[in-house]
């Protein structure tokens, strides 16, 4: 579905189903240089199990127009405006990597609006290496190559995908390559400059789920410990052998963690 946010055409994947205000809503927020399609399995499941699933394309990503925003604060403000535009009074948020920080900040800014927050492959704070910042600033393809190498576990480097015939490294590379120049740098800048994560964690009032990859080199599990301890109510699931690309490396495990999370909350999938 398309909507307008701050005058810009904005896309959210809904599994081709109309928004129904009577249903609970779960919003999926992608990471740097990605788009809604990283959530295709998980968002489609929820869309067919009694939920409004809204897998957004952030500004300047995928099918959404506008320039990429360069701070998590601005992105959280944008997400709030997106929810207004669609007419979502209350929702669950699931974010991956940069998207997890957007979800965190959104939940901190407007606690009554967020029923539950799932942070997939997160770190608080989320510093980005100088080399990645430098290469992404130069729109150097090496930045994508480094991400592909670091974002997949040693096991995933050789494939064995659950999706028939899909080569994870190739898919992720092509998805990143579709980004316009400057997109990856804007995203990394937003992650690197976000210093308010732990303060935001104190303000979050909803249950929080952290799903982390045991072999994640980009957001290693230890980098989420302090935030997990700061939330008033949180649970951490560590997926054995998984790297940072959790939704493609272990799609069912991520989905099952999300299903268990929402079942433990007030809303129950049909």
């Amino acid at each position: 579905m398309y909507t307008s946010v701050a005058g810009s055409k904005t896309y959210a994947y809904t599994a081709n189903r109309p928004f129904d205000a009577s249903l609970p809503t779960i919003v999926f927020v992608h990471g740097a240089a990605n788009d809604h399609s990283v959530w295709s399995l998980q968002s489609r499941y929820f869309a067919y199990h009694g939920w409004n699933a809204l897998a957004v394309d952030l500004p300047g990503h995928g099918r959404s127009e506008g320039a990429p925003l360069t701070s998590i604060d601005a992105l959280a403000q944008w997400l709030d405006a997106f929810l207004d535009a669609v007419g979502v009074a209350q929702c669950w948020i699931t974010g991956h990597s940069m998207g997890s920080l957007i979800g965190l900040e959104t939940a901190a800014r407007n606690p009554p609006r967020i029923s539950g927050l799932a942070l997939i492959g997160t770190a608080v704070p989320m510093p980005v290496s100088g080399t990645l910042l430098k290469t992404s600033a130069a729109n150097d393809h090496v930045a994508y190559e480094m991400i592909n190498a670091f974002a997949h576990s040693p096991r995933a480097q050789l494939g064995g995908n659950r999706v028939p015939g899909a080569w994870m490294l190739g898919s992720n590379m092509r998805l990143m390559e579709r980004s316009a120049d400057g997109t990856l740098y804007a995203d990394f800048t937003a992650c690197n400059d976000y210093k308010g994560g732990l303060e935001a964690a104190k303000k979050v009032q909803c249950p929080v789920l952290l799903v982390l990859g045991q072999r994640d080199l980009m957001t290693p599990p230890r980098a989420a410990r302090e935030a997990a301890a700061t939330f008033s109510e949180s649970r951490t699931v560590i997926l054995d052998g998984a790297g940072h690309s959790l939704m493609s490396e272990q799609p069912d495990a991520v989905l099952d963690a999300l299903i268990g999370f929402v079942k433990s909350g007030q809303a129950t999938p049909a």
Binding site: N16, L158, N161, A166, S171, D252, L255
Partner: protein, 431 residues
């Protein structure tokens, strides 16, 4: 910080797409010889059918052994994924029918495998899909042949049997300017010789029966998606960009930004046309792929020695191999195929049809049959076999004469091959 690199081709050829079996630790790829898969519960079943979970439902659509092969070839080609099919012809058919409907048009190289030529010339027109054939060396002819209803530009990386080198970068540029994808048949150029996606191709197919398998025991095909073509931007592919009532109104480009083509091909093409690969064949082809790199090296080494020998023979008027300075695509081959121009080539025997018959019947190591890319050396006479449907003009356009002999050089000792050829050439010239 050193630039990280993905694994190299020889490593991917052995490992990509396969993890040691989680149940028993089997190192080799297990053969999942099953039609179907038990669902843990009804919700899981529904989720698999509706693409909410990853996994297998029925082996016509997907199978774990096939999936491992598909992933391996996608990794070797640098694509986003692949689909294994019953044959190379099935792969070509799957690609075409996924992209277009009756009323569509293809621009294709005129130098094609006879089977592909048959499909495009005679069979697809019955279903309303027309093809214009052009000289593969005339890049402008590709541009001139494009019509409003054109949906695909197609050629072989090395034309069969004239070994015309397809100028993929230039052809891709003009096709992309017209909003069209380029499909190449890369059967003669496995990834160790050429990676067409890096040159601009959008889709690749292989007859896996040939070099990928290498053993001549299993028929199969693979179609690989490079994941770069922007179907939405093109606006010419409603099968991928508009809701498909045959699968819950799915819009494939929304479902998958990079693999929309593969989604539709699997969810419609394999489902409805059903030309899937047998898991036994997938296993056998995987065994071949494991040694593809070293085999291609040996194929090329042997081919270069045989080409050199034939080029110097008094019984041979002409050898057609792009590494020879006499080949019209010599310079282009040096640029696009620095690791070798394949192991299949033709030569013109002096003495015409009668000499050709004596030559073929005098060979002891070379097998006379209709295949290429085997570990064993092969020989055939195209005018009476693979290209028998073509008239004289079509044969000429494809670079074939009645004296053309095609060789597929195998992995035997090169000296034995040369001695066999030497004996047969001598016999061929006896009146």
């Amino acid at each position: 910080m050193a630039t990280p690199k993905s694994y190299r081709l020889d490593t991917l050829g052995l490992h990509a797409g396969q993890q040691p079996d989680s149940e028993f630790g089997a190192r080799a790829q297990p053969i999942y010889y099953t039609t179907s898969y038990v669902f843990p519960d009804t919700d899981h079943a529904a989720s698999l059918f509706n693409m909410e979970r990853a996994g297998h439902v029925y082996s016509r659509i997907s199978n774990p052994t096939n999936s491992a092969l598909e992933e391996r070839i996608a990794a070797l080609e640098g694509g986003v994924g692949a689909i294994a099919t019953a044959s190379g012809q099935a792969a070509l058919h799957l690609a075409i029918t996924t992209l277009m409907n009756a009323g569509s048009h293809i621009v294709a190289s005129g130098s094609l495998y006879g089977g592909s030529h048959n499909l495009l010339s005679y069979t697809l027109p019955r279903f309303g899909i027309e093809t214009t054939f052009v000289n593969p060396r005339d890049v402008d002819a590709f541009r001139a042949a494009i019509r409003p209803e054109t949906r695909l530009v197609f050629g072989e990386t090395l034309g069969n049997p004239g070994l015309d080198v397809l100028d993929i970068p230039r052809i891709a540029a003009l096709a992309h300017d017209a909003g069209l994808p380029v499909l190449v048949d890369s059967t003669f150029t496995p990834p160790h010789l050429m990676r067409p996606f890096e040159l601009g191709a959008d889709l690749i197919f292989h007859s896996a029966t040939k070099f990928l398998g290498g053993h001549g025991v299993a028929i199969g095909g693979l179609v690989v998606d490079g994941g770069s073509f922007d179907w939405d931007k093109s606006g010419k592919f409603p099968t991928l960009t508009e809701p498909y009532e045959g699968f819950h109104g799915m819009v494939f480009t929304e479902e998958s930004t990079t693999a929309a083509f593969l989604l539709r091909a699997r969810r419609e093409g394999l489902r409805d046309f059903g030309a899937c690969m047998s898991p036994m064949n997938a296993f056998q082809i995987m065994q071949g792929v494991e040694t593809l790199g070293p085999r291609m090296q040996r194929h090329i080494e042997n081919t270069r020695k045989v080409v050199q020998f034939l080029d110097a023979s008094d019984a041979v008027s002409h050898v057609v191999y792009p590494e020879l300075p006499s080949h019209p695509d010599h310079d282009l081959a040096a640029k696009l195929l620095p690791n070798g121009c394949g192991a299949v080539f033709t030569f013109e025997l002096k003495g015409g049809r009668a000499a050709g018959r004596r030559f073929i019947e005098s060979l002891k190591i070379f097998s006379h049959l209709a295949n290429v890319g085997d570990a064993k050396s092969l020989v055939i006479h195209p005018a009476t076999t693979t290209h028998y449907r073509m008239d004289a003009e079509a044969l000429r356009n494809a670079g074939i004469s009645e004296g053309t002999v095609r060789l597929s050089i195998g992995l035997e000792a090169a000296d034995d091959l040369i001695e066999d050829l030497s004996r047969a050439l001598h016999a061929s010239q006896k009146a």
